[in-house]
Structures are given as C-alpha cells and as structure tokens.
Symmetry: C2
Amino acid sequence: MKIQQNSFEYKESFHLLNGGSIPGFELVYETYGELNPNKNNAVLVCHAFSGSHRAAGVDKETDKPGWWNEFIGPNKAIDTNKYFVVSPNNLGSCYGSTGPATLNPATKKPFGKDFPLLDVYDWVASQNLLRKSLDIQSWEMVLGGSLGGMQALEWSISFPENIKKAGIIAATSLISSQNIALNQVARDIIRKDINFEDGDYLIANKKPRDGLRVARMLGHITYLSESNFKNRFGRKLQDINNKIDSSINFEVENYLRYQGEKFSEYFDANSYILLTKIMDSFNPAGRYNDNLVDALRHCKAKLLILSFDDDWLFPTEYSKELHFAAIMAGINSSFIELSGNNGHDSFLYANEEYVSAISNFLNHA
Amino acid sequence: MKIQQNSFEYKESFHLLNGGSIPGFELVYETYGELNPNKNNAVLVCHAFSGSHRAAGVDKETDKPGWWNEFIGPNKAIDTNKYFVVSPNNLGSCYGSTGPATLNPATKKPFGKDFPLLDVYDWVASQNLLRKSLDIQSWEMVLGGSLGGMQALEWSISFPENIKKAGIIAATSLISSQNIALNQVARDIIRKDINFEDGDYLIANKKPRDGLRVARMLGHITYLSESNFKNRFGRKLQDINNKIDSSINFEVENYLRYQGEKFSEYFDANSYILLTKIMDSFNPAGRYNDNLVDALRHCKAKLLILSFDDDWLFPTEYSKELHFAAIMAGINSSFIELSGNNGHDSFLYANEEYVSAISNFLNHA
C-alpha cells in the first residue's frame, strides 16, 4: 500500500462559522493507495476526538498501527487497491495541523487558550479546501466514528455536491446534556491543574499533565461499556508489585491511570478543552431552526448509519433518531446496529459483520 | 413529632474488619417519635454517601428538610406515631461523628488521611453498639438507599438476631468496575487539588474546594439519569447574565457547578475519599468465599429489595441478582422495580407507589 504524508497550507484568512477567523492554516494528512486518473475513487476518513491523521499502516518507529488500520488497506473494508484514502488531522487538534499549540503569527506565541472556538462545520470546510487542492470533484465516501461520524453527517448536509456516500458510525446529530456535563467535568479537571496557568502553560514552559491524565481517565470510562470493564477487570485487586501508586486497590484503577498517564505525555490540554467544546456545540440543524429533517433535505449522499449495542455514550437510540429524520427528509438512508464488545470504542475494532457493512455500502450501495 | 439530637460515645478501642482500630468513637444521631415500653418499635435509617443523621424534620435555621423527610413523620411511610426512628451519622463522615476531620487523641491533630479504611461492616457494628446502648433487642426494620441500602444488607447478614426486616433500596451487594473507575477519578480529582496538601489540608489551614467541587459534579452526573438531564436542561444555553464563569455555555454546566460549589463549602475531602473507598470494597460475601448465597443463609430478616428503572449507577439488574441470591438462600425476599424520574437519586423522592411499598412492607409483611 502506498502511504504518503502530506501537508496542505491555506494561506488566506479562514472565516469561522461562529464569527472570527484564523490567518490561514495548515492541515497535515496521510493518503493510502492512489488517486485514479478520473479522480473518482477518493474516500475521506475523519478521525474522532483524540485521533490523528495516522489512520492506516504501521509506524516504523513506534510499531503502532494507525487507528483504523484494521479497515484501511489492500483487501480490507476500504480496499486501497481500489480506493484512494485521504486522512487529515483536524484543525484544533495537536498532531501537526493548526491548533492551540501552533504559533500565532501575530504574537509569535502559541495561540493557547486564544485559539478560536471552531465548529464541526469549520473542520468540514477546511477539508473541502483540501479536496479542491487535490482536484477531486466528489468524495466517493466520507466516513468516521464518533466525532468522525459527525463530520460525515456535516459533509452530507453542508457540501452535498461533493460527497456521494456518508458513513456515520457511533455518532449523533446532537450530544445530550449528560454528555455536555461529563465534558464540562473534564474541562474543569484540566483547568484546575496547578500547571494549567490559565491556558498559558506553553508560554510558562509547563504542562498540566495531572489534569489531562484524570480527564482522560474519565473519558476512557465513557468510551468503554460496563460489560467490557466487567470482563476485563471485574473486581480483581491489583498485584501489589505492579501498582503505579499505593492508593490503588483494583486492577481497573491501575489500568486507567496508566492509560491516562501515557495520554498526558503527548496530548495538548487546550486542544482537549477545545475539542470537547466543539463536540458540545455540534448541531448541524442549528442553521435550519433546529429542524434536523429540514437540514437533511439538503443532503444528496446515501447514508449508512451504524451504531453499537453496548455504546452508552452515543447509544443506538441516537442513531435511530438520525435515521428516521433522514427518512422523513426523503433521502436514501440505511441503519444497522451491530453488537459491540468495546462500548463506544467498538467503532475502532474490526469484525466480520462490521467490515462487511462498510465494504458492501462502499462498493454496492 | 418528637425530634431528639443525641450523641453516643463508645470509649473502648473499636476494632475494624480490615485490621487496625480507632481509640473509641462518637456517633451523632437523631431520633424521631418515641420508643415504646416494650422497645419493639425501633427503625434504623441509614444514610447514603453524602447524607447525614438529619433524616427528618426541618432545620429551623436553614429551613432545610431532612434527606428523607418525605418518608419519616406522622402518617408518613415510616409513621412516627407508631415507630421510633433512629438515624445516625456514619463513622468516617463529616457531620459530627468520628471521622477524618476529628482530632486524633494520640496526636492532637485531625486524623486526616491517617483515618483507617472502614468497611460497611464497621458502620453496622458501630450502629449495633448504639442499639445496645438504647437497650433495643431488635430493629423492626433497617433501611436506606444506595450506601444506606448496603448497610441494611450488611445488617441482615452480620447481625441476624437483631433485625426483623431490611429495606435495601437502589443498592447492590457489590459495585461494578465501572463504578470503581468513576470513584477513582473522583479521588484523583480531589488529590490533585493544589490545596489538598497530601491530605493534611486541615493542619495547613487550607481546603481543597476546587477538587471537591469537580468530584461532586462528576458524582452528580451519575446520580441523575440522562432523561432527567434532558427534561430539566436539554441543551438550553445559559442566560449570559447568570454565568458563573465565562467558559460556561449550557445551563446544565451552570447548575452542576453551582451545586458542586455549595457542596464543597461543607463536605470534608478526606471523608469523600474514604467513603468512595468504603463503597468500592463493600462485599458482604467476602467473608463467605465471595458466595453471596452462602452469606445470605445467615440472614433471618425479611428483605424488601427495591430498584428504580432509570438508575444507571446501580441498575435494576443488580437488585434482581441480589433477590435471586436471597431466594436461593431460602430467605423471605420481595423485589419491586419502581419507575423513577431522578435516576439513582429517585430513592430520595416520595411518590405513592414508593411510599406504599415501604409502609406495606413495614406494617404488614
């Protein structure tokens, strides 16, 4: 599989949905496979909250596979012998694309907490500029899980001429007040870290690692399901020789803290706050008087709406509501609930049904 | 209704289930109604996580009703014309009974983080000493919601000769690894507060209020249900003039932060950590090779096991498991699921069915 790492630079002022602008931006992205001469085999893959442009292949240095490597590659669900896959890192994230940790050209300091609040629409608009730069008229499909699925939905509503199919996986058109509340707790945890410095930690050469770690632990709980926790950890006590911290009693505590610590080494705290805010305010029907059916009337793509039965962050019921709204809007929509073993994170793991659902839709629908 | 405020002092060394001891203790408690001459009309009410001995009546200074005032009083579910209700504040809590904020007689400083890890068994054993001091042979009923229900269960297993009926409401015999994980996040939030001082904040004359506030916000999310959040807040934006903090966008965020701030004014951080640990390790079957049926064979009380359909902290399934174990153990157990509107917190709010379930069981079962 041909893998290319690229960067797209947009040098004009980029106006944002919520008002305001950024003075140009950079999107880093990877591509897998090759664009055909007719340029009609391109698939856009959108990452979730803490994902990156590294969706496929295996990193030579770290030996770490891309987050959707099980799905993208030769003879996989998105077959790179046939399709050209484009995977950008989103604005506001921290893997190379313009975000809070980027230097603000006006001040020569990192944007930090002054990075403007983006909307999922802005992500999609920036991806649309990337599409134009690649001279692709229309994506064969745009897809992703969780926040990635929300981008696929936004694409189908806001750029209907440039997308043929959308895969909206483990996603929703609107997050619940419970989700908002959990995101707020995560933000408060980070902001109260002694090293947060009111968002200016980079300038102070500090890092709010404890806050990031604990916020990630909370997130992690919501990404998995209770049955997954039960099967993996139950109530096993942590082996005393492998305890990270003497205050730990149960294996589940040790696991979460370890995962949180790893995460806190590389993720940016302002990005974490910004991305939760983007999730909170996602509402593609907002520009249509909050009427999702009216919003979906603009869509011309075929939709595949996919949920997992053990996802408690964005349960099946949300996907069904979206599917019914699509039907009411008279568009071609197909819904499937799969059984998952990893809660909300089930969208990351391949199994035969899941792979078939995606490849059938991409190739035959 | 006759209300009395009392204190029970135990002046001998009190040995704990996990080993170790405390050099005596004080339990503050309230009583409602009057003990009859035969001393066979006593009901013990056990409070939940952040509850206190103030279960009934209305505080004259603050105008605040007791946490179960809707259930305890003349002609209420627990009729104080007939029953004598005893409501202690648990060891390790912070409303007057011996706990982390109490002075350690050996050091003349607050116990703080050195307060030993208690078990629910120790709570019940201390309540049993209170029972003896009141010269009551047997409680007519012991009941409570959440951690209160766990105490009622522990009573029925560990002191079978001194309890006739147990009301185990919105409770479980064992919390899940997901619950443990959420408790761990709460503990980590508190411990990372800049004013926590490794647990010695009282000695340093500080208070980890931010940590307590955010931990409580997380707890609050788990006590309510998603449908409750949806009905109360939906995705309403907060009126800008009433924002506590400019980072707040949604009404639900403002509500949680306000509630968390109030809580952080009066609750003790070491108590919070201790109580979550007590909840994590609760396992009345632990002394019976983790066999709950074997544990329940010791029980002589009649059990009322009550759950709420919208409780996601301790869902109905947990109550059913307990009920089946009781049936397998050959004891008299009755199970009822009620519809709730307040998630896990539904156990606090009276409605006709709930009140009838308790009063029928208490008076006729």
